[in-house]
Amino acid sequence: MLNYLWAFMILAGIAWGALHGNMAEVAQGALDSAGEAVSLCITMLGIIALWSGILKIGERAGLIDRLAGKMSPALRFLFPGLPLDHPANRFIASNMIANILGLGWAATPAGLKAMKELDRLRAQTAAEKAASREMCTFLIINISSLQLIPINMIAYRAQYGSRAPAAVTGPAIAATMVSTAAAVVFCKVMDWKRG
């Protein structure tokens, strides 16, 4: 995906610049941006290192498992068709908690295992290889974003001279709640329509 997007930006940008006589600006733009990337990276280095260190403490202390254990009422509500003792429950819970904490590297493996378990469940009941209700719900909720603290965004804002880089945390949580609420309502309506 990024291949085409990036190639489009570069090629279309240069072609457009040539047509409009902006070639000097294009060259300057490319060189300036490359330098900026380095100073951004230095700001990121500090903030990301700090945050990764904090999250590592939580991860090693078993925070994901601990919090995932408290997710079962939410899972009952979101996945009424999923048996209580099914292994998918645990992976879905870990994936959601890791996403909330911003532990992307822990979220994806758990999420893929959850999909595998959901696929096994689907194979027991449906002959056709199509996404089950549980898969749809899981992915829609996942994509609706659950992140609590947008640490990368805070770092970008700090680099560009924001007076309060973290001020967007509260609004971001509010917006995330809106998108997740929309996702939950949509999934519930689809569940209800399919009977």
Partner: protein, 174 residues
């Protein structure tokens, strides 16, 4: 709104307090764990340098050539009629496919208007509350070789649209 902004001030310190406290309760060597994590984080941040250079140069070219302005102008009339700022539409669309390309465009907004401007706040919130719909779906469904994705795409797009709308609204009221 004041409550939400107050939340912004508290959430990071409280999260750190909770995690470090939890680590101590579980009898972990919290400082050693912190240093290990910070080392990994520093490595991750250093490793994204090439990606950042590539993307920021791409966006830099797009901006300097005048093409970005032209594309924004194309969609501008239609979306500004419904109260949506045209400058952030490309970011919302690119974010469906690639998080890093969207970041590159967002940084351009920060540079042009400042991160604390209304547009800057909008993109900050927007990129924090949406995911890469097409990328995530392809990874998860490919892993179990399911091609018929049911109602996942409309649901995911609806959730993203709700997040974008909420971002525009919240940034206007901050």
């Amino acid at each position: 709104m004041r409550l939400i902004l107050y939340l912004s001030d508290c959430i990071i310190p409280l999260t750190i307090l909770y995690i470090v406290g939890f680590g101590l309760l579980m009898k972990r060597p919290v400082y050693d764990d912190f240093v290990d994590g910070a080392r990994e984080g520093a490595r991750t941040a250093a490793e994204i340098l090439p990606t950042l250079v590539g993307l920021m140069a791409g966006v830099g070219v797009l901006r300097a050539s005048g093409l970005l302005e032209f594309l924004t102008g194309l969609v501008g009339d239609a979306v500004s009629r419904i109260g949506f700022p045209p400058q952030i539409l490309p970011i919302a669309l690119v974010k469906l496919f690639s998080s890093s390309a969207a970041t590159g465009l967002a940084l351009d907004i920060f540079k042009e208007y400042g991160p604390d401007s209304q547009l800057g706040l909008m993109v900050s919130i927007m990129l924090s509350c949406t995911e890469t719909v097409f990328y995530t779906m392809s990874i998860y469904f490919q892993s179990v070789k399911v091609k018929k994705t049911g109602y996942t795409l409309p649901g995911a797009l609806l959730a993203s649209a709700a997040g974008v709308a909420a971002s525009v609204f919240l940034a206007r009221h901050m």
